[in-house]
Point group: C3
Chain length 377, copies 3
């Protein structure tokens, strides 16, 4: 699969555009909140091996350079040069960025675009809007209207979608019916009391997540844009069994007639479940982002799962890269290569003509995203 | 694997034996209740590719004929000729048919047998019996006895098993203990009120499903026949995580001593769970039907999952074909080929002698079904 | 992968060191509590094929000897000779044994060590301690203290860890917060009443399992030893969906700062979930024991799942062998061979240098266990 295919990374974050020392880099290749276990290193895992194999040469190092040499070289080149190299060589033509996750650590979306030399768009992380509303000051009775106004106000020209991380907060294993005004007010009261007590604004109330879900879907419908859902794996805040996307089945039934594209992000280890939801519901899409850059040498296996049953028109490409420009580069490399391998095997077994395979690559790489996201030029 | 092996399709439906236009055909290769997403076609998925590759030549078309040409040729030949070709070339020797799903759209079981030139047997979909009892007129107090009489009355000479679609209704994530008479009556009252209000008879009450479960198992025990369970994937009515067969574990414990074979249908994506249940409980059987005709080029993967742990004496063959005769043909083709590939790999790695592999094929293809279903001649 | 790598079997049981007849042997290769289904044999499954292929030659039989010949030869050689052969040829250098499961059927840990010619250590099955406390006589008010004293008293010199089978009892799908004294007393009362009524001491109460969980973790912290968790598959007492290790997520969050290694045993079919937990939590480890000796020719697939995402420093080796010395031999054979195959494929695809692959084998085979278990010499 060559770089002629347009790759649209429909779900990623920004990079850290300052130099990272040895410990800081190691902590960026861990989903845990802690240091590595005693006597071990965060490098000692598939993604560490991948960085040493595939990223080291981009920084002019021999393949399988040691972790120490790798970070030294990164420091020598400087973050901006490193980021430019990986982003530009990734072959990603366009970035759709959730800029609401730990923004203080990362560069801006515009800076990402400048480093990559490619257009970037934004997705609004709705929980971040809710949390800013609380930080800005509201009361329980005023929360719903304040959130709705803020959400609508967040839709600047560059915004092409909304995102919810309900998986991380109430989990997906909740009643997803629309909340009543009284339920929202009571839950907002609980949220505000917790904020007053701790100084930390983190929305977890199920009723507030249901409000985000329904108000987000309505707004996306009015504006003709998708809603993204965090699904499956993540950091220690995630409880996997409660992030199976099939917990959203009733919600998908309820809003299918709205024709709002709903995109299931990463999905691992529920890739088969996601594929069946994409088959069952005309508005459901999915990707196997993150896991392909994270899983190292096993990256083909997730693509095999993804291609089992779902329509070719319902799968998307994403890296879910966060912080390290290596992860965009690896995500694109692994995506292109795994799709080539699986479809190449189909061609070899006479299960798929070559031109169809090329068309499928085009659909999943970018055309599906182009069809459902507005304003991609 | 040659056609000498007797294939018994222990779970399928009937075909549509009238001509299908372009849209009608496309809608038959989708599990969704809706048209394809805007800008897409239901053909654009693995099973669409499979039909173009493997079914087109059976209709004298070049492989990978376009969807339009395919449906045109189907119309030219006429439904009866198309159905005869696929059914007869499938190599299926015997059909065990759930005739209770959308019967108005499909031909009769006898017509299927005539088209296929092969004997057909019936399985009673117990929810359909319950719904007919309500349509025929009963009151809440009389429901239990009326259902039991109707179920017993449904066991005509050609019936070889019972089936429950509890997965689609209450889901499997319920207390499966036997319901009390009062629980049944209260639930029947709710069912009847809904029927009066909507004119639609659809049983969803957990207590009525528990009644179906226990009364069905007792009747199957008395008559020496299996009970089939819909497991895992299906249309948008299914909520996947609640259709994991391990939700039935307590029920399987409760009735193991009855020695009523209980067959878990399709099972995807819970194939590994199904295999372990077949290992743990002497009366539990399973298949990977539907998913092998649906998954196109990935059909070997489900057979690999199925052969990991379960006894070779507990796996069955089914197509779960519905409506399109292509799906029986593909189901049998994929089943035979995947079993040959996996066992051929075992032989090549010196993990299985050739005569054992042949015996395993015979068991899964038909001998296991012949052992547990009565009256297969 | 040669025998030079030190294999530490961090989770197994003891062998039966008396002769086993044909039926007794067949029942040892089944997880069910029942005879094989009518018309079938427990031999007719992947592990049966594996024993005939790989174990028969160790007993001087041709490969694929019949089940009858196999058991005859076993009887001819006598249990002690059979056990010595399989244990010594397994290449396992050290055994860490849960001796609390059906001890009356098995030899002692010392006998195992003597048969194997290798050192053995013990892990305390905490539920067995709780049950002995009840058998020894206590009242509800005294249960907590009696259990704690007995648990502490069980830590003889050879003990290197604790184990809980909560998965089999309350399941993992419970609130895992620390129980109050009143909750423990009430639950102990229920346990004692059941014991009085049935004469069987089997702890299932969630509050008592939470007590085991927290008190076990505290004691392990004080003594610097791991806690093992039964995860996923097992006999008919297990309900699979409720044994997904992600049900333990909140507990892992609560105790992460204690740095007590927590090892997830076998994990199938939740291997991917286990791998992500090992990535997310510094104190979580996992293995794919049992399933590799059980799955026969498919043994590589579990290792492929295991190596997808988790740190190489967090995976362990175990056989979970119980009763039959064949299962240690097969477990070690399949482990070594699957790791060689997967890493060999990585090397062939230039994804891993050869010396790194050797290091990974050393980590998973034994070095990780050596790092977290105390007193392995």
């Amino acid at each position: 699969m060559d770089h002629a295919v347009e790759l649209i990374d429909h779900h990623c974050h920004q990079v850290v555009n300052r130099d990272l020392g040895h410990d800081a880099f190691a902590n960026m290749i861990s989903e845990s909140f802690a240091d590595a276990a005693p006597g071990t290193s965060h490098w000692d895992k598939p993604v560490g091996l991948s960085i040493r194999r595939w990223c080291a040469p981009v920084l002019d190092l021999p393949k399988f350079a040691s972790p120490a040499d790798y970070v030294d070289r990164r420091l020598e080149l400087g973050a901006a040069e490193v980021n430019r190299r990986f982003l530009r060589r990734s072959g990603i033509a366009r970035y759709i960025v959730d800029s609401g996750n730990r923004p203080g650590e990362l560069c801006s979306v515009d800076e990402l675009a400048a480093l990559a030399g490619a257009p970037s768009h934004e997705v609004i992380r709705m929980e971040s809007v809710a949390e800013q509303v609380v930080r800005d000051g509201t009361d329980a009775a005023g929360y719903a209207a304040a959130f709705e106004a803020a959400l609508e106000g967040s839709l600047t020209a560059n915004v092409v979608g909304l995102k919810t991380v309900i998986a991380y907060r109430s989990t997906l294993a909740i009643d997803t019916s629309p909340p009543s005004a009284a339920e929202i007010e009571a839950a907002a009261g609980a949220f505000l009391r917790r904020y007053d007590a701790t100084g930390k604004a983190r929305v977890v109330e199920a009723a507030l997540e249901r409000h985000i879900l329904w108000r987000g879907a309505e707004l996306a419908r009015a504006r003709g844009m998708p809603v993204q859902f965090h699904i499956g794996l993540g950091d220690p805040d995630v409880t996997l069994h409660a992030c199976d996307p099939s917990h959203l089945t009733q919600f998908f039934r309820d809003v299918e007639s709205w024709n709002v594209p709903m995109t299931l992000l990463h999905c691992y280890p529920f890739v088969r479940e996601a594929g069946m939801l994409a088959e069952n519901f005309r508005h459901v899409y999915f990707d196997v982002g993150f896991i392909q850059n994270w899983s190292g040498p096993s990256y083909v296996r997730m693509m095999e799962d993804a291609l089992e049953t779902a329509p070719f028109t319902k799968q998307l490409f994403s890296t879910d890269a966060f912080g390290l420009s290596e992860l965009y580069y690896l995500g694109a490399l692994r995506f292109r290569d795994s799709l080539s391998r699986v479809l190449g095997d189909w061609i070899a077994r006479d299960e798929c003509p070559m031109d169809e395979a090329a068309r499928i690559v085009g659909l999943i790489g970018g055309a599906n995203a182009r069809r459902i996201y507005p304003g991609l030029g």
